[in-house]
């Protein structure tokens, strides 16, 4: 184990701009975990950081491009996929990673995300979904669950949250994965797998904003929210539960909520949870536990070699 620890510390120093640390993120924020996972995935793929471009939008997630030591652009709110499209056209050999928050990717930048997926522009798009606009202080976002309290939905949100997976399917993204900051191994593996995709790869990461969203919704500690990102404890997290119950699917038969879907098809709670789902154009692949096992084996290999 000690070897593995040493390896990771070397990784961070090589891949982050140490002089920009500490980050501006709140203690316990999932973004540190996600940045770590991205760096590890890039390291495992043995990519040269000079040939990687990270494009971020605005929001807490947007700050990430300041910390990762590659070719980074901190762009405007929602437009990261559009900037990234330009970068990929000019330098197709580059690995382009865009990082966005849920407000960034799904509201103000929704059309850019949709069209980057439709055009199948080669990039890994990581959407950090914490159900809220965090940086501006906790306004409801397109993924705030029904009933979720925010500073602009003080009596609880009544708008249906966006379902990014459904959007990715509709827009024709060849790869989609959902992971959580509680399942770091599968998160890293999802990003690593996304980096192998020759086309648009979307990774939604369920993250925690305990300081703002959690505090307004009865989960003031990071551990409250992170622990809840699990099939077993799913029911104890009212935000995630609401999110699972109220997300909708638009099918040929009409609109149905996830709750109805589960009832009709017997889909388990786990499949809808942050543990998630990975699918590619060649079909759905399940799930995170296998990746965790693979990951463990992989880490042992790295240490051994």
């Amino acid at each position: 184990m000690s070897n593995a620890t040493v390896q990771i510390s070397i990784t961070l120093r090589d891949y982050l701009r140490a002089d920009r640390l500490p980050t501006t993120w709140c203690a316990g924020c999932g973004l540190g975990i996600i940045m770590n996972a991205i760096v590890q995935a890039v390291a495992y793929r043995r990519l040269d950081m000079d040939k990687v471009s990270m494009v971020s939008g605005i929001g807490c997630t947007g700050r990430m491009s300041g910390y990762v030591d590659c070719n980074t652009v901190h762009t405007t709110h929602g437009r990261a996929p559009a900037f990234a499209t330009g970068i990929k056209l000019a330098r197709p050999e580059m690995t382009v990673i865009t990082v966005m928050g849920d407000g960034d990717a799904m509201s103000i930048g929704g059309n850019h995300l949709v069209h980057a997926m439709r055009r199948n522009i080669g990039m890994v798009a990581i959407v950090v979904n914490n159900n809220v606009y965090g940086l501006t202080g906790g306004q409801s976002s397109p993924t705030t669950p029904v009933g979720g309290v925010s500073t602009t939905t003080t009596a609880g949100s009544f708008e249906r949250p966006m379902d990014l997976e459904a959007l990715a399917r509709t827009a024709g993204a060849p790869f989609f994965a959902r992971a959580t900051v509680n399942h770091t191994a599968s998160l890293t593996m999802s990003i690593e797998k996304a980096l192998t995709v020759d086309g648009f790869a979307l990774v939604e990461v369920i993250s925690n904003c305990h300081v703002i969203y959690g505090r307004m919704n009865g989960m003031p500690e990071a551990s409250d929210m992170i622990a809840a990102m699990d099939g077993d404890t799913w029911r104890t997290n009212p935000a995630l539960l609401k999110r699972a119950d109220q997300s909708i699917r638009v099918t040929a038969a009409g609109v149905e909520t996830a709750q109805e879907l589960r009832r009709r098809e017997g889909v388990s709670q786990d499949e809808r949870s942050g543990r998630g789902v990975i699918w590619t154009s060649s079909g759905s692949i399940d799930l995170s536990h296998r990746y965790q096992r693979e990951m463990t084996a992989r880490q042992h290999d790295e240490v051994a070699t």
Binding site: H74, T76, H77, G78, G103, S107, I108, G110, Y133, L135, T136, G137, Q139, S140, P142, T151, T152, T153, T154, A155
Partner: protein, 407 residues
């Protein structure tokens, strides 16, 4: 009884919207404006403000929804800042062409990149030519009152208006605020009577194609309405005193009577300028302050009258139009153009991206104004390592000018 509360500029703006009984609020979060719509969200959720409130997916949509609401006969309000106002730009034009008296509060912040949330008026001044009326608030009280004042005039001329407020130094600074009695505001600001309504019994088409035979006339009516707004703004500012106890005017003067030097400023930094002017008076300098409250419609007559015959005028710009000079300086020069006793205009650019404009900064600028012999388009104050002065000298290459002579 009017209430006296300790509030920030942002919350005062929200109170201004509430007192104006806005009916639809459509907004998107952006620092440093967000507190305005957060408070409006609370006020609508609690029922204190019986309005419809929606958080949409971008500022472009926020203004589009205001356009729709206003066209349907509702009093519509939004608030934004910097990048958000820039994103609204297309819809700002629409509100003018459709003659919709929407009011917005813009908390002025610097434009990216580099990313900055700090005070800088380039964002709002970039919207100078869209056809919105523009007021610049200096205090928390004005952040509230100007919204009411603006609706009053906007709904008389059917043109939209924006209230500018400086990031943090006004938006996040708490001052005592008198929240007016609602019935007195109601008496000052009658309910919105739309020019045209969306009425199923009397269907109309909006946003139609106009050919060359109509567009100019439609615009001419906008120009005409803006001319009319100048007088109405002054009148409504006077009536504000009778109705609500505070007198507002498109231009304010301070210690101008025998002033040889005049310094012009707009927005919240004017408070420091006023203090510096007062200090300079105590040192024996004959200086006064001209505060521009309204940029559009531009108060030509007042500015010309107040500046005629002065020895020197300094314009303080917390903004810049690269390749020219500070935008207020351009406006003042243009207002004085052709006037026989026009004073020379010294443009000073300061406080860009939230760099502090302290009383001392203005005092140094006044000293520079006295010493300097020739006016300059733009003199930069407070660039690290540089004294007050024009851009660093570089090799002057004569610019070839293409000229065709008339024989």
């Amino acid at each position: 009884m009017p209430e006296r509360l300790l509030l920030t500029g942002n919350h005062a703006a929200a109170y201004g919207a509430m007192l104006s009984r806005v009916e639809v609020i459509s907004a998107y979060p952006i620092t440093p404006q967000t507190m305005i719509v957060e408070l409006l969200s609370e006020l609508t959720a609690s029922g204190e403000l019986p309005a419809k409130f929606i958080t949409v997916e971008s500022e472009h949509s926020a203004m589009a929804a205001c356009v729709g609401a206003s066209a349907a006969g509702a009093r519509a309000y939004t608030a934004t800042s910097g990048q958000g106002l820039a994103l609204m730009h297309e819809m700002l034009h629409w509100a003018v062409g459709a003659r919709l008296p929407i009011v917005l509060t813009n908390v002025s912040r610097a434009m990216a990149p580099g990313w900055s949330i700090w005070s800088d008026q380039t964002d709002i001044l970039s919207q100078r030519d869209v056809g919105w009326m523009m007021l610049f608030a200096e205090s928390v009280q004005e952040a509230q009152d100007f919204v009411i004042w603006m609706y009053r005039v906007a709904e008389q001329v059917y043109l939209p208006g924006m209230v500018g407020m400086d990031a943090f130094i006004l938006s996040h600074t708490a001052e005592p605020l008198i929240v007016h009695d609602r019935d007195r505001v109601d008496a000052y600001l009658p309910p919105f009577e739309p020019l045209y309504d969306l009425d199923p019994a009397d269907p109309r088409a909006y946003g139609g194609l106009v050919n060359r035979d109509h567009y100019f006339e439609l615009r001419y009516k906008v120009y005409e309405a803006m001319e009319r707004a100048g007088r109405l703004l002054a009148e409504a500012g006077e009536e504000f005193a009778d109705a609500l106890g505070r007198r507002y005017a498109p231009v304010e003067g301070y210690m101008l009577d025998d002033a040889e030097y005049v310094v012009m400023s707009a927005g919240a930094m004017t408070s420091n300028v006023r203090q510096a002017v007062k200090d300079a008076r105590e040192r024996g300098m004959k200086v006064g302050l001209l505060r521009l409250v309204a940029l559009r419609p531009f108060p030509f007559a007042e500015v010309r009258r107040l500046l005629a015959g002065r020895h020197k005028v300094a314009v303080l710009d917390r903004n810049l139009s690269p390749g020219h000079s500070g935008i207020f300086a351009q406006e003042i020069r243009s207002a004085l153009s052709g006037m026989p006793d026009a004073p020379p205009v010294y443009g000073y650019v300061m406080g860009i991206g939230g760099r502090d404009v302290r009383v001392e900064t203005v005092t140094e600028t006044l000293d520079d104004l006295v010493r300097r012999d020739e006016p300059d388009l733009a003199l930069y104050v407070g660039v690290k390592g540089l004294p007050i002065g024009p851009v660093r000298a570089f090799e002057q290459i004569p610019v070839p000018v293409k000229v065709e002579v008339a024989r």
